[in-house]
Symmetry: C2
Subunit: 203 residues, 2 copies
């Protein structure tokens, strides 16, 4: 097990933002800086959370106990991607390993008819982008690499796996409701400090 | 996976107590009632958290992100027990399955010399007892059953696995420092509500 301390520090700082009742603008500035620091290094993610599967995996790393925010690891196998979807809450996407492409999708002005692609972000390790109903909430994401998995770390302003959201048929704009859930029944134990404390005592 | 909702509800109610900056007396009354409700039923503990090992297992179920409290599942194999130990913070012990015996241990009045047993509690399912530096913080606990495992659910007023505590040699009263850590690298995901939400939508 690698040293999980960077994830624990991130969770504690995000909890303090939640306790301060931070408005979205603070999450998108201070939360973004915290996530950027987390994905600036790739030495803390447990191996068990980095496995890819037959479809992309959404591995919960932490959910705030009052469900004010959540932290999720997305693992994209070669060629894997999402349907067109929304979030309904702010979200931050930080690239940890590999590369992914996020394509904003814009509804037809009539409300019906084909959707158009908007902004395209190619994310390389360390890069953070945001989504939100306040500026751009609908996109599709895929692994940019055909020959290996990619991994991004996401934070959202809710227990994202329990939010009723929408997927869209890009050809017609038709919306269907979904609740994503999570791919994992167990999340990392962030709280066993005994290894580092023993190391300190020995130092 | 059984329905984890009772544990999630317990964690959320305990989090609200922590946010209210509850003094110890409230944890020992309201927290005790919450724990009694949790162990009044034995249908929610994931199988993976109920496995016994070569020595007793201390399985973290939840740690408050600000480390104000933690919830731990103790799994005692047949005949297993703890050394004499303290906690340094309030603790609540709720019996879930099987039976255990908790024996309070009293230091020799001189501060050196053999410890004496005090109060003895035999815990049956549904029973909750408390420990605390304010009234009785040193005890030893063992499985009361020789032929099968027993399981109790504990709550403590800190990240108990990271607290520097003491074990005692009952023959001499001699104290040694320890940090217990936890037996598990992964804790249950309490936050996947997608199954119950789909069930609601279908109802
Ligand atoms: Fe997304
Ligand atoms: Fe104890
Ligand atoms: Mg699921």
């Amino acid at each position: 097990m690698p040293d999980i301390a960077p994830l624990r520090d991130f969770v504690q700082a995000m909890t303090r933002l939640a306790d301060a009742r931070a408005p979205e603008a603070r999450w998108l500035s201070e939360g973004r800086d915290l996530l950027a620091a987390l994905v600036a290094r790739d030495d803390w993610l447990p191996e068990e959370c980095a496995q890819h599967g037959p479809t992309y995996r959404q591995v919960l790393l932490h959910c705030d106990p009052l469900e004010r925010f959540s932290v999720v690891c997305f693992v994209w196998g070669p060629g894997q991607g999402t349907p067109v979807h929304d979030h309904t809450v702010w979200g931050l996407v930080g690239m940890l390993r590999g590369e992914e492409i996020s394509t904003e999708m814009l509804p037809d002005p009539s409300g019906e008819g084909p959707m158009r692609p908007g902004r395209v972000d190619r994310l390389r390790p360390g890069k953070v982008v945001a989504v939100s109903p306040s500026f751009s909430d609908i996109h599709t994401v895929r692994n940019a690499l055909a020959d290996r998995p990619s991994i991004s770390i996401h934070a959202y302003g809710a227990n994202i796996g329990a939010v009723t959201r929408s997927v869209f048929d890009p050809a017609t704009g038709r919306r269907s409701r979904f609740v994503s859930g999570y791919s994992n029944a167990f999340v990392p134990n962030l709280w066993d400090r005994s290894g580092e404390m023993t190391a300190q005592a020995a130092a």
